[in-house]
Amino acid sequence: MSGESVLELEAVTKVYGEQPPVPALRGVSFSVRRGELVAIVGPSGSGKSTLLHIIGTLERPTDGVVRIAGVDAARLGDRQVSLLRAREIGFVFQQFFLAEHATVRENVADGLLYAGVPAAERYRRADEALERVGLSGRAKFKPTKLSGGERQRVGIARALVGQPAVILADEPTGSLDSATGASIMELLRELNAAGATILLITHDIGIAERLPRQIRLLDGQVVSDTVQGSAS
């Protein structure tokens, strides 16, 4: 699988606090090309949450460069970086973070709310995204009426709706039983096969090993970056 880099990290360092300074990331560098499906795996405390936040532009690195879709995020102000996030990054959360008072369709359409897309277009694309995750029949439901697996499908549809450069999935199966988790993993693989670039952050080596590429993180450093021989 080849293509231009949608995500590049160069010597990314993140240090929290001042006295004493606590390094969370120490010189992390890798790049992800369009269409890849990558697992970032590591035990708790390895820095993978910090890495997720930095890739997602929710946090700025102390040092180093993060390039998303060719744009250096560190050079942007809040307004521009927010727009970059709105258009080029889709988040999938372990706890789903769905709005309970809104319908499934509205939740998915809200994935485009801050991207400057008119309402009619948002809903049209939400319907498409729901179709892709197999939830067309649930569009008018409230999330509270859905099972955990269905809720995570809504979350994935919301990340997908803007066709972002990268989808960041943070322990997407962490709140689900293993059978449901497996079906979510299957969905992510299908979406990847259809062209989506997905970064999956997990502590579960079993899940990571079944993905084409694994970046192992330990104590804020990349300890291995392996591509399965069978990949693509």
Binding site: S82, A86, F97, L113, G116
Partner: protein
């Protein structure tokens, strides 16, 4: 990246700002209640005073502003002056004078419910002789019974003013209803409606001039003849629009020899002043309304701060979806304003309804000053903005990573 911004459209902004209200309607309603009560109190007070003012002005216009009164003032030496006996007849000859009636206060005569009442208990009721056309000049009528006529004016028959009747404890008439007036029994022929233009008449027992002469000895000499009188108050109805011209001539006409001993006044002036006073706000209730508004503002601020803490994950999610700090700030500020304005609108409606019901029960026309309506909404808007400022800034400064970590 394209140059198009991620700015929300107004309808999206409104939907986002109302998320909190829609997801917790009871809480929103309760926190808006304080502002609603405050606004209702203020609008109600302003509306009621405006309506009562309108009611008084309508009453004044109905009574007519073209009535003037002529009274005996003080003499040069400081004693009570007298009007000449023939003053009413002279005034009748003036241009633009339409009707003239007169009454004579008999200071020494008292009136009691019966002959057993101690003399000191006069209850402030006065005895007056009256000309027979008094009612048409005052524009008042009979509450009960009949007015004096040519026959009864010469008999021991009295008509009671509305206040006098109440003071004497007479609220209905029996055929033999009598009062003890000037040391003798007088029959009560009727009770008057209130006459706001002549409060003196309200508090009087009225008898005819002939009766005053015959039974109470109220006479004065005119050209060597004894005649009932003199009058102490003359009521003059002028042609409408000529009040000032007539007023300027009345003193000289009533008493050409000593015009300075005559007081001329326009009773509707007093009522107009009273209407203006009624229009002044009831500052106590206005103050209470302001206090309720402040308490309401604190309530809204409190709810907004709690709401920001509770909705950390929503804030984090919105940031992850690409909301800027400014958009988060605007969302919470707009929510606070929306909450307060909803309270303000409810308060304005409630205050207006209270005004309408009360004014309706009093028979006033309903007047709600536009300033009260606009001021009510505007102050709610301002309160919402002030109350929402701190919570909104807090929400916008919350780091998205912290916001997402909670739950």
């Amino acid at each position: 990246m394209s140059a198009r911004s991620g700015r929300l459209r107004p309808e999206d902004g409104l939907r986002v700002a109302s998320v909190g209200l829609r997801s917790r309607p009871l809480r929103a309603a309760l926190s808006a209640l304080g502002i609603a009560i405050g606004t209702a109190a203020i609008v109600g007070v302003l509306g009621l005073s405006a309506s009562s003012q309108a009611g008084l002005i309508a009453e004044i216009n109905q009574l007519g502003t073209n009535m003037l009164t002529v009274e005996a003032g003080q003499s040069f030496s400081g004693g009570a002056a007298q009007l000449p006996l023939e003053a009413p007849a002279r005034i009748t000859l003036l241009d633009n004078v339409e009707h003239v009636a007169d009454t004579a206060l008999m200071k020494d005569e008292k009136v009691y419910r019966n002959s057993m009442i101690p003399a000191a208990k006069t209850r402030g009721i006065e005895v007056r002789a009256t000309s027979l056309n008094l009612l048409s000049v005052l524009g008042t009528g009979m509450a009960r019974g009949a007015w004096l006529n040519e026959g009864t004016a010469g008999e021991p028959v009295a008509v009671l003013g509305s206040v006098a009747a109440r003071q004497l404890g007479i609220d209905r008439l029996f055929p033999d209803q009598r009062i003890w007036l000037g040391g003798q029994w007088f029959n009560v022929a009727g009770i008057l409606d209130p006459s706001p233009l002549a409060p003196d008449v309200d508090a009087s027992a009225l008898v005819g001039y002939p009766a005053a002469e015959t039974y109470l000895g109220y006479v004065s000499l005119a050209g060597g003849e004894e005649k009932a009188g003199p009058p102490t108050t003359i009521y003059v109805r002028t042609a409408i629009g000529h009040e000032a011209a007539v007023q300027s001539l009345l003193a000289r006409t009533a008493n050409p020899e000593a015009p300075y001993e005559v007081n001329v006044s326009q009773p509707s002036d007093v009522l107009t002043a009273r209407a203006a006073a009624a229009g002044a706000f009831n500052s106590l209730f206005l103050g209470l309304g302001v206090v309720a508004l402040i308490v309401g503002a604190v309530g809204v601020a409190n709810i907004m701060i709690i709401s920001v803490l509770e909705r950390r994950s929503e804030i984090g999610l919105r940031r992850a979806l690409g909301a800027t700090k400014g958009q988060i700030r605007t969302q919470f500020l707009a929510e606070s304003i929306l909450l307060a304005v909803l309270g303000g609108v409810a308060g304005v409606v409630a205050g207006a309804a209270a005004t309408a019901v009360y004014a309706g029960s009093k028979g006033w026309s309903v007047v709600i000053p536009v300033e009260a309506l606009a001021g009510g909404i505007a102050s709610a808007l301002l309160i919402g903005a002030l109350a929402g400022l701190v919570p909104a800034v807090r929400a916008s400064r919350m780091p998205p990573t912290v916001a997402l970590r909670t739950v």
